[in-house]
Amino acid sequence: MSIFEQLTQLQKGAEEKIAAAVSKEELEGLWTQFLGRKGGELTAILRSVKGLDPQERPLVGKVANEVKGAIEGLIAKRQELLYQANLEKRLSSEQLDVTLPGRWQEPGRAHILSQTLGRIKEIFKGLGYSVMAGPEIETDYYNFEALNIPANHPSREMWDSFFLRPGLLMRSHTSPNQVRVMERQDPPVRVVCPGKCYRRDAVDATHFWEFHQVEGLLVDERVTFADLKGTLELFAKAMFGERRRTRFNPSYFPFTEPSAEVMVDCFVCEGKGCRVCKNSGWIEIMGAGMVHPRVLQGVGYDSERYSGFAFGMGVERIAMLTYAIDDIRLFYEDDLRFLRQF
């Protein structure tokens, strides 16, 4: 058999075997069997013809390369065929039930009171206010005296307080921070002071002995009650929605004069009257007023030159109104089923 015949035969044998191969591994085996450099059949044929006529060599080389190319081509083609066939099978066997649950980790959640407070702070930060949180244990001076609430004044009853000893108490509102801020700096003052407060209230659905307030204070030259109205109206819209209307009723706090309670039209019933607004169509959201000149004078501000307004709101109350939560105690029970809703 001439070398050309041997090569043809080799090619034929390879074609048959390749056509019968059913796996990638088998094809790789066939490549080694026919084309491997050490011990492959093609190499063996080429080596077996020693003393080949030098003139024939280029031709033999050419034919051998053609055979090699043909076999490689067949293997590649077969491989592609097998891959495609397998792909179909794999795709059809890997159909997922996409409705099965994902593997996930419960994300952390800020407490609803932190979230509510965060929104309040953000609104006022946007208006150029700083944030300052003072101590929870306060002296009688800051909690009362400096706020124009002298000892034995009947208005002290508005704040039934926990005392550590005479003269030292758990602050019963965040208003002491007004004084602390003004003692620390000269006007202009723009600050909100959030924090926990304490009152000796019997516990029920709307009272807990601890609660959170945010105090606000703005002092400068030429600050008017109109500025108070405009600022708090802006806040109410940012907090409760663009469509909210606000109303201001006269009220009484010893440290502001004139004093006001701030109402928004009920966002639960749109002012028609419901349980939340006690059928009045209006909800009280905070107390406010022009800083009393005695408070300004007490920190050494010239009350003829400077004026300002202050306001204070309960964070629990705002959260309860916003989400129609009916029991203040839920905030302090820390039931995950409650916390995860917000």
Binding site: L127, K196, K229, F248
Partner: protein
């Protein structure tokens, strides 16, 4: 305060509904909490005139009437004896529902059609006692000019409306119906109608020159004014129905005409009064003095009180007969046999009355009114009003008037500048507006010059003492809602500061680490502290808690966080990863006031498989976020597992601790899954935080090499790593311990630790030779310092 709407109408003309009045009052700062309605629900009853009355042909006692009820003409058959042609009465039409729920239907009575029924007072739920005596029997006899065909509710006040009015602590005058009426009249710009009073008082009656035995004041500070009147020929009996009815609507029980009048006048004018049976007063006069130590007195409610030293006593020549401003004594009570009255109207020191009422636990209607301040004029007005009513309804007013008093102070005047109004309210007010508003509130206004007024304050306005108080008066009655609305400009260049920055940093980081925020109470019982091995005497305490739950201020967060965990476990929430940011409170000798309240971040983990390193990883992340080099040292805390507890340090500064629950404590808590806590001082961490610094990253490849060593089991990974970092120098980019193994074939008392190093140079690619040399040095150092051997 309960303000019957019908009563309010005595003093000001009101055409508005109760709801409208409530809104008007609200707008001037008289908060109306609610409007209550009392009385019967009746429907389908209208006013009607009887046109003709004829005898029923078949029934002797029945009459057949033709009736006009507005547009309708109807035939009604009735048995009422007082029916007569021309009278206007109440007619229940077909379908009407009466006060007792009975429904009226058209029907035939002995063959005659009756299209409804005439009603008497009780059938429509109206109190017959409120009618003239001759009209109480039979069907209603309404005024002849009553419009016909109108619902009966429009004709007779079947339902009384009561405004529930709150009063502010500074407005003593708002604890009276007259005071509320004054605000309403001012708002409506209608005149205030004062009630009738005895007109016999003359200014000379104050401190008459001849000494009267009737009143002796020992302490004028405790009692600056005391007025007495005598009523003779007294007939004690029931009050007239209208008065009893009003008192009941206002929430008071009717007792007898004398007591009712004192209560009525108190509600009307705000002046508390007391009437004594003069026959029971030894010597016939009264002495006002301070209580003697340990003095006892039985008050009208029948309890024997030991009087506190703040108490002011009203006494006769022999004994105490009343606690001034709080409650009268049982021994001088007005009885049916009382013939002569001693009427007391006085002013007492508000602070003393308040303290006495609090000590005795007797916050009475009287003490509530005295507590808010003293109005000397009201003493006289109240007495003269009561004397008038007593003269009308109970007896004869004797001409004697005794008023013992400090000199009547000159009326207070306050200056008001229009400039101040403009400066605080942002609006110009005209002189006319100022005079109109203040005048309507009984202030006397005198213009001194352009833009300056002198304002005289009425005696009952104890809350007005300076200019800004008048600014509020103007603002209130001008209407807050009518004032302009502006927003102050944001100042360019104003410096802001945010002390909540540390808190917000740790909150957002904790959230990103999958922790859920909780808020727990800051006050607790001593029991809770003891359960968690904390010492109560190292905590701050509340002097006046309402309950044991509020007695101690927390010195740690973890007991409270544990409570939250336990509560959730009972609710079958089992994967619990909590954090809380809060103050804790501790006594401190150095701090001002002897207390300090650092802010803490508490973490509590409890879930199946949770261990120390879950928590430590979180703490390390928190440290890294502030570029803090944290180190951990074993520590013993009474509530933590002694083997799984560490102090957290940055250099020499202790920042907090972390640890697993002590097994004994876990058993006491019935805890079946792991529980770990950490508490960190966030303000201290924030102070130490490092600034971000840019460092070039190496362009040359990093290589990773492992080293397994066997060491004594006491040797800690931290010690070894410290040594490796020192030896490795700049080339050691990272060193960590990734495996610890004890057990065969490692000998007992020893352990195998596997370390992984990442080595990299800034200047070149490290050669195999350089790497091996460094590893050898690391190994030698471990051998030398920790007697480590290479694990085979």
């Amino acid at each position: 305060m309960r303000v019957p709407f019908c009563w309010l109408k005595d003093y000001v003309e009101i055409t508005e509904s109760a709801q409208e009045v409530a809104e008007l009052l609200q707008a001037v700062g008289v908060p109306v909490e609610n409007i209550e309605r009392e009385g019967a629900e009746v429907s389908g009853v209208v006013s009607a005139r009887v046109e003709s009355v004829e005898q029923h042909p078949d029934a002797e006692r029945l009459k057949v009437c033709q009736v006009e009820a507005g547009s309708q003409r109807l035939q009604i058959v009735t048995a009422a004896p007082n029916v007569r042609a021309g009278m206007v009465t109440a007619l229940a039409l077909h379908g009407a529902v009466l006060a007792d729920g009975v429904k009226i239907k058209r029907g035939k009575l002995r063959g005659a059609l009756s299209e409804g029924m005439f009603c008497g007072a009780s059938e429509i739920g109206y109190d017959p006692e409120l009618l003239p005596a001759e009209d109480r029997e039979g069907i209603l006899n309404l005024a002849a000019d009553t419009p016909l065909g109108r619902p009966i509710q429009e004709v007779l006040p079947l339902q009384e409306e009561i405004l529930i009015v709150e009063s502010f602590a500074n407005r003593a005058d708002q604890l009276s119906i007259l005071g509320i009426a004054r605000e309403l009249a001012a708002k409506l710009r209608r005149p205030l109608r004062l009630p009738a009073i005895c007109q016999d008082f003359r200014p000379e009656d104050i401190n008459p020159s001849q000494n009267s035995e009737l009143v002796t004041i020992e302490d004028y500070e405790a009692c600056p004014r005391f007025m007495a009147r005598l009523i003779s020929e007294v007939k004690v009996g029931p009050s007239p129905r209208w008065m009893a009815h009003r008192l009941e609507l206002a929430g008071m029980r009717s007792i007898n005409n004398v007591v009712d009048i004192t209560n009525y006048v108190m509600l009307e004018t705000g002046q508390p009064l007391h009437a004594y049976d003069r026959a029971h007063l030894a010597g016939g006069g009264l002495i006002v003095r301070r209580a003697q130590p340990g003095e006892k007195l039985t008050t009208l409610d029948g309890t024997e009180q030991t009087l506190p030293d703040s108490a002011i006593v009203i006494a006769d020549a022999q004994r105490g007969v009343g606690v001034a401003g709080v409650m009268g004594g049982l021994n001088s009570e007005v009885e049916e046999t009382t013939k002569e009255l001693f009427l007391e109207s006085a002013a007492f020191d508000n602070a003393l009355v308040r303290r006495t009422a609090l000590r005795l636990g007797l916050r009475t209607e009287s003490s509530k009114r005295f507590e808010k301040g003293i109005d000397l004029e009201r003493v006289i007005f109240g007495a003269q009003r009561a004397a008038y009513l007593l003269g009308q309804l109970a007896g004869r007013v004797e001409p004697t008037i005794v008023v013992k008093s400090v000199p009547t102070p000159a009326p207070q005047t306050v200056a008001l500048r229009t400039h101040t109004l403009q400066r605080l309210l942002g609006l110009e007010f005209t002189s006319a507006q100022i005079v109109e508003i203040l005048g309507a509130l009984d202030f006397q206004v005198r213009q001194l010059e352009e833009g300056l007024f002198q304002v005289q304050v009425p005696s009952f306005r104890l809350d007005i003492s300076q200019e800004v108080d008048l600014v509020e008066e103007i603002a209130r009655h001008y209407g807050y809602d009518n004032l302009p609305c502006t927003v102050p400009a944001v100042q360019v260049g104003a410096v802001t500061y945010h002390t909540d920055a540390p808190e917000e940093h740790f909150r957002s980081l904790a959230l990103s680490l999958g922790l859920t925020e909780i808020i727990t109470p800051s006050l607790s019982s001593g029991e809770l502290l003891r359960q968690f091995r904390l010492q109560e005497d190292k905590c701050l305490q509340i002097m006046n808690p309402l309950s044991e739950d509020q007695r101690v201020l927390r010195s740690h967060l973890f007991p409270f966080m544990t409570n939250a965990i336990l509560r959730n476990l009972r609710l079958r929430n089992e994967d619990l990863r909590f954090f809380e940011i809060s103050h804790i409170y501790r006594p401190s000798k150095q701090a001002a006031e002897g207390v300090r309240e650092p802010r803490r971040l508490g973490i509590a983990l409890s879930f199946a498989g949770a261990d120390f390193f879950n928590l430590k990883g979180i703490v390390e992340s928190l440290g890294r976020s502030l570029r803090l080099e944290l180190s951990f040292k074993r520590e013993t805390l009474p509530w933590a597992h002694s083997g799984c507890c560490a102090g957290v340090y940055c250099g020499e500064t202790r920042l907090g601790w972390l640890g697993a629950v002590h097994p004994q404590l876990a058993r006491e808590l019935d805890l079946e899954q792991p529980l770990l806590w950490a508490e960190l001082d966030i303000d201290r961490m924030w102070e130490l935080k490092g600034a971000a610094q840019y460092r070039k990253s190496s362009r040359f490849p990093a290589v990773e090499r492992d080293l397994a060593l066997v060491v004594d089991s006491q040797v800690s990974a931290g010690e070894l790593l410290n040594s490796f970092r020192k030896v490795g120098g700049a080339l050691m980019v990272e060193a960590k311990c990734f495996d610890v193994y004890t057990g065969a074939p490692i000998p007992a008392g020893q352990k195998s630790m596997a370390f992984r190093f990442v080595l990299q140079s800034m200047e070149k690619t490290l050669t195999e030779d350089e790497i091996n040399k460094l590893l050898k040095k690391l190994q030698k150092a471990a051998e030398r310092e920790f007697k480590a051997t290479l694990r085979e």
